[in-house]
């Protein structure tokens, strides 16, 4: 592809936090330490990801990793994304703060997910893979992957969490326009899907099950691989174009954030904006607060436990230590489907464990209120996930004392909410009620998580 003009503010490299903090490389639990694992004799070891993609998750040698030319050309079609000061929102709130927002909704698929979809499909296509399969929650990841596959000539199969699919069927139409096969999850296409109806008789669906179905589907089909939309270090790496641009854009304005706020599903949107700011803050020897905002219906950081856990319902992916509610937790079907994953990714979990990030949980009704206020003042309707970040940001700036210097905050608006207009409309007429944690499901799932960790044999040096 030739002739794409690259803006000087478009980063040419991804920022790799693992160089500065190698302790964040996820260490997986050896399966030999897990008692009672089913007999896996004869099971072969394959590379699930292209080697050059997979090794990005382990790279501690390079602080900056070059973005391949093909990916840069695609980024140049919609990046850099806008950074704006939310002056009208500041006035409406009457707070002692300067609020900046980065807007990732201004691309064809409508969210930050495109940043990693383009990168991943580039590597898979180059490695000779013909079809990508995935699981998606809110559908933004599925849409991004479908688009990236279409422009790079791959087929795409998507397992989409049923509760979200039914909330916004138009997004499914969008995935199909990009040529994807879309299946409701749980489905009867895979054993994982069929089994899921035991814990979830209504078939609401979870991202753990949709992911498990995608993995099972990939294992059963030739030249097919599973792509992950968040959580893994390499995915967070691809998203660091967001934060690098934000730092450069704020530099042009003579600003640097005191505080970065983003919503937390498994961590790619949060990491994408926060990690480069953290790197820049350390270079400049100044403090910065990083705040992850999660859904109160799926409070993996504020109510989860730091344990070894499975990231999907199939259970063949590496077992890493994460903040988790347990992989069988079925969160209520909130509209922020992207925040329903039961665990944070290993990197953000390690950051929460060592105090590098703070977390807060926001109720669905508070998030819709904040999203509407942002729309009415700034003219942008945030996706329900991003509306959680806005609500968290409003909470933070509202607490900032008047006698201190104004607080400079950076909030990431990870996607637009134009396909969620129906949900916003229902909220304005009072048809959406506050959604609480499903305590029964949570207690059962946390119990299963503890049982799972009990099966782990302690390493010799720890006994």
């Amino acid at each position: 592809m030739a002739g794409t003009t690259r803006d000087p503010l478009l980063p040419t490299h991804w920022f790799n936090i693992l160089h500065d903090r190698p302790q964040y490389v996820a260490s997986a639990l050896p399966r030999s330490q897990l008692a009672g694992l089913e007999d896996m004799a004869g099971h072969g070891l394959q590379l699930q990801q292209p080697f050059s993609l997979a090794r990005q998750s382990l790279n501690t040698a390079d602080r900056f990793i070059p973005i391949p030319g093909e990916v840069l050309d695609r980024y140049a079609q919609y990046r850099p994304t806008p950074l704006r000061r939310a002056v009208r929102l500041e006035e409406r709130l009457g707070v002692n703060a300067r609020i900046y927002y980065k807007y990732e909704g201004a691309n064809l698929v409508g969210s930050h997910k495109l940043n990693t979809a383009l990168a991943q499909v580039h590597y898979y296509a180059r490695a000779g893979v013909k079809r990508m399969v995935t699981g998606t929650g809110a559908g933004q990841w599925g849409t991004a992957l479908a688009y990236a596959c279409q422009i790079m000539g791959l087929e795409c199969t998507i397992f989409w969490v049923r509760s979200t699919l039914r909330q916004k069927p138009v997004r499914g139409d969008m995935m199909r326009l990009f040529g994807a096969d879309v299946h409701e999850s749980p489905s009867d296409l895979t054993e994982v899907g069929r089994r899921a109806f035991t814990d979830d008789p209504a078939g609401i669906g979870t991202l753990a099950v949709a992911t498990g179905e995608g993995l099972a589907f990939a294992a059963e089909h030739r030249e097919t691989r599973f792509a992950i939309g968040s959580g893994e270090n390499s995915v967070l790496l691809h998203q660091t174009v967001i934060g690098q641009e934000a730092v450069a854009q704020m530099d042009l304005l003579g600003e640097f954030p005191d505080c970065v706020i983003a919503c937390m599903g498994a961590g790619s949107n949060f990491g994408g904006v926060a990690l480069p700011v953290l790197g820049a803050a350390e270079d400049r020897e100044r403090p910065v607060r990083l705040i992850a905002v999660e859904s109160a219906a799926c409070p993996k950081l504020t109510r989860g436990r730091y344990r070894y856990d499975l990231s999907d319902a199939l259970g063949t992916t590496p077992i890493t230590k994460v903040y988790s509610l347990g992989s069988t937790y079925v969160p209520p079907p909130v509209y922020a489907g992207g925040l329903r994953h039961h665990s944070a990714g290993p990197l953000c979990s390690a950051m929460y464990a060592d105090g590098s990030l703070e977390a807060m949980a926001i109720d669905q009704d508070a998030s819709f209120r904040a999203g509407l206020l942002f729309c009415q003042t700034e003219g942008i309707l945030p996706a329900p996930e991003a509306a959680h970040a806005v609500a968290g940001m409003i909470d933070v700036v509202s607490r900032h004392p008047r006698h201190e210097d104004p607080l400079v905050v950076l909030v990431n608006i990870s996607g637009h909410g134009l396909l969620d207009l129906g949900a916003y409309q229902r909220f304005t007429v009072g048809e959406i009620e506050a959604v609480a944690v499903d305590e029964a499901s949570l207690a059962k799932s946390l119990g299963a998580l503890e049982d799972f960790n009990q099966r782990i044999a302690q390493p010799a040096e720890a006994t």
Partner: protein
């Protein structure tokens, strides 16, 4: 399979024989699997079922091999491998190790 990094190197390792390849595999397995001793590695052991390898450790292992053999592994060739036991891994190392004079 491999594009040897042969443009600038003047000293190239000779291609490994099987016992050297086995020694290298044992060392690398011991480096990526906590608690595993190199001398305890046996060709018949299964990587997944017996040694507890998973995809993450497998990538660590390939990164180690790439470094120790001074080769550049190509994505496309690695996507089709399917290794059940240590002997399969030794076969892979024999294939990817650079030949003498390369």
């Amino acid at each position: 399979m491999v594009t040897g990094d042969n443009s600038s190197k003047t000293v190239v390792q000779p291609k490994l024989d099987r016992s050297q390849a086995k020694m290298l595999v044992s060392d690398v397995l011991a480096a990526v699997i906590p608690g595993l001793k190199a001398e305890a590695v046996d060709e018949r052991q299964e990587l997944y079922a017996d040694l507890g390898m998973d995809s993450l450790r497998f990538v660590q292992l390939l990164v180690e091999l790439e470094g120790r053999l001074s080769v550049h592994l190509v994505d496309e060739d690695l996507m089709t491998i399917d290794l059940v036991n240590v002997a399969d891994l030794i076969d892979l190392v024999e294939r990817i190790s650079p030949s003498a004079g390369e």
